[in-house]
């Protein structure tokens, strides 16, 4: 399909351009889908983004779009656009593994609400993409099915836990992907793969059918190559869902409109003083400073803001998230679904459960379950989990105080560019530092975006934009304007510099 007469390279089109071409009859949804499938066939042996490709289902969905378009039906703004789905969201017609052996081959009997909404929007789901096991990790090396590689440098990590989602979009296997973000798992992979990634406000996107890691932090969101594409996907999946009691019944912020406004004159931008300095790569800081300078040139008012408790966010997160995970993962008990081992007619349920969890969970999941069990134990609860919840309050108060002075906050997305595969697998504390800048927004619930800032030695790095809860549109307002300015400065979108695979 790379020989399409009008579009010589269909897979490089943005989602918006793909949908427009389909709506105009210049490209069929089947052609767009087949081009993505061909690209996957060509590059995924190297990248290993996909755990499951549903070619038949994708082509059937695409044919349906083409038929209904031919019949004159009005279709949505993403109709016929291919998408990669993180394997932590259930879809009836595909396996859901969460990157874990314990769910190998499991088919959920229901669709996640995000998936139902994608189908209702006529988005073509190509298949399931790789992730750190149960979304625990920052490199996708914790997948039981092998690591994903960064398309910019295949010896390096694509970030995590939504590494498969980011790699698929950066490798032009799909213009869009869904990821999930508990401590930075959309924004960090987006940053190190040169993409736009957004964690919506907690409660903005339904968690029904999102296999829980840390329920009070998990949130699904878009990854894309442009701010407008991310906004279109955000709008498609967001909104209240009675099936998720933590879903909030407020209107979806006007993200698509905000992405197109391209005007930040007078907008107040706060640079977070605490998210800089020691541990930050000088190249990351330089790219960040250049992006902030671009915001100033666009007429934004940039000031420095202090959020003194952000320095404790990482510690609080690595108590709260493991505590919730130790409880959530109790459902993998070898009784109702998934793996069961050692059921020899002699062993009791507890022993079968213990054998199954021993074989079915990888090292990082075990570390976090044990850590969470410890933090929740009587005698330690107040000192660890209880204290972490109080620090969480103080972080929310830091945000609230900052947002009295400024409209958005900015920081680097990650302290460093992508690191080499294998370099941090045995040093969990070093791995956790990848999430230093992204965790505060998860703890306070506000939305945050990573936008490509530039390259450091040929590797992409991101600028993070943070907004108050339910002001997701501000991310797109700032992101849209800044993307345009940075693209103009370098003469092309950052992702155009990704090396050929």
């Amino acid at each position: 399909m790379t020989d399409h007469p009008t579009f010589p390279d269909v897979v490089r089109l943005t989602a918006a351009a793909t949908a427009a071409a389909i709506a105009a009859g210049e490209l069929s949804a089947v052609e767009a889908t087949q081009a993505a499938l061909d690209r996957i066939a060509k590059v995924d042996d190297t990248i290993h983004a996909f755990l499951h490709v549903d070619a038949e289902g994708a082509l059937a969905a695409a044919r349906s779009v083409d038929e209904r378009r031919a019949a004159g039906e009005a279709l949505g703004p993403l109709a016929g656009v291919p998408l990669a789905l993180k394997d932590v969201l259930t879809a009836r017609d595909m396996p859901t593994t969460c990157g874990s052996r314990i769910l190998e081959g499991w088919h959920a009997p229901y669709d996640a609400t995000v998936v139902s909404r994608l189908r209702a929007a006529d988005v073509v789901v190509l298949g399931k993409v790789n992730m750190d096991e149960f979304a625990m990790g920052s490199s996708t090396e914790n997948s039981a099915y092998g690591p994903t590689r960064n398309p910019w440098d295949t010896t390096r990590i694509p970030g995590g836990s939504s590494g498969g989602s980011a790699a698929a979009v950066a490798a032009f296997e799909a213009p869009l992907a869904i990821g999930t973000d508990t401590g930075g798992s959309i924004r960090q992979p987006a940053a190190v793969c040169g993409l736009v990634g957004v964690k919506p406000t907690y409660g903005g996107v339904s968690r029904y059918g999102l296999v829980a890691f840390s329920s009070s932090l998990d949130q699904a969101g878009p990854l894309a190559r442009t701010v407008t594409d991310a906004a279109l996907l955000h709008a498609a999946i967001a909104g209240h869902d009675p099936l998720d009691s933590t879903s909030v019944d407020v209107p979806v912020p006007p993200v698509v409109e905000a992405a197109g406004r391209r005007d930040v004159r007078g907008l107040r931008v706060g640079v977070v003083r605490e998210l800089a300095g020691e541990g930050y790569d000088p190249g990351v800081e330089a790219a960040f400073a250049a992006a902030v300078e671009a915001l100033t040139e666009l007429g934004a008012e940039v000031v420095e803001v202090s959020c003194p408790h952000f320095q404790y966010a990482l510690a609080a997160y690595y108590l709260i998230a493991p505590s919730e995970c130790s409880s959530n993962l109790a459902r993998f008990d070898a009784m109702r679904f998934g793996l069961r081992l050692g059921d020899d007619g002699q062993a009791g349920a507890e022993e079968v459960m213990s054998r199954t969890r021993e074989a079915g969970f990888g090292p990082e999941v075990k570390r976090r379950v044990i850590l969470g069990t410890y933090a929740l134990s009587s005698g330690y609860y107040d000192a660890y989990y209880g204290q972490a919840q109080k620090v969480r309050t103080l972080i929310s108060r830091d945000f609230a105080a900052a947002f009295e002075r400024v409209d958005v906050l900015v920081s680097p997305t990650t302290p460093t560019p992508a690191f080499p595969l294998g370099s941090k697998v045995d040093d969990p504390v070093a791995m956790y530092l990848s999430d230093l800048c992204t965790i505060p927004s998860n703890l306070a619930g506000g939305p945050a975006m990573s936008l490509p800032a530039g390259l450091v030695d040929g590797l992409p790095v991101g600028i993070q934009i943070m907004a108050p809860p339910f002001a997701d549109d501000r991310l797109y307002l700032v992101g849209g304007a800044l993307e345009e300015a940075l693209d103009a400065r370098r003469g092309h979108p950052l992702v155009a510099e990704a090396p050929a695979l």
Partner: protein, 98 residues
């Protein structure tokens, strides 16, 4: 606050995960390192600060009490490791000596 190899073994038992000796050798120092990193939360004076369990607090979330079709039993059982007579088949749950 340190964490010993025996404590890790105990926590693994509480978590219903068998762990091998090799795993314990690896896990104990890693958990020790993680705990010393997260112990920083104690540096914050927060005695009179209320805890946050959820970023966006909601209370008493109700929906209309309307009957909806439930998941058919066959679909609920389709992913089960073992099923029998329309039910989940599980290993014995009581110890024969008790």
């Amino acid at each position: 606050m340190g964490i010993t190899r025996d404590e890790v073994a105990h926590l693994a038992r509480l978590s219903r995960m068998s762990v091998t000796d090799d795993e314990l050798d690896a896990l104990a120092p890693q958990l020790e390192a993680i705990l010393s990193a997260v112990a920083r939360v104690a540096e914050v004076a927060a005695a009179d600060i209320p805890p946050t369990s959820h970023a966006v607090p909601l209370t008493n979330v109700f929906r209309p009490d309307v009957a909806r079709p439930s998941l058919p039993a066959a679909e609920a059982l389709a992913g089960a490791p073992a099923a029998e007579d329309g039910r989940f088949r599980v290993p014995r749950i009581l110890d024969p000596d008790e």
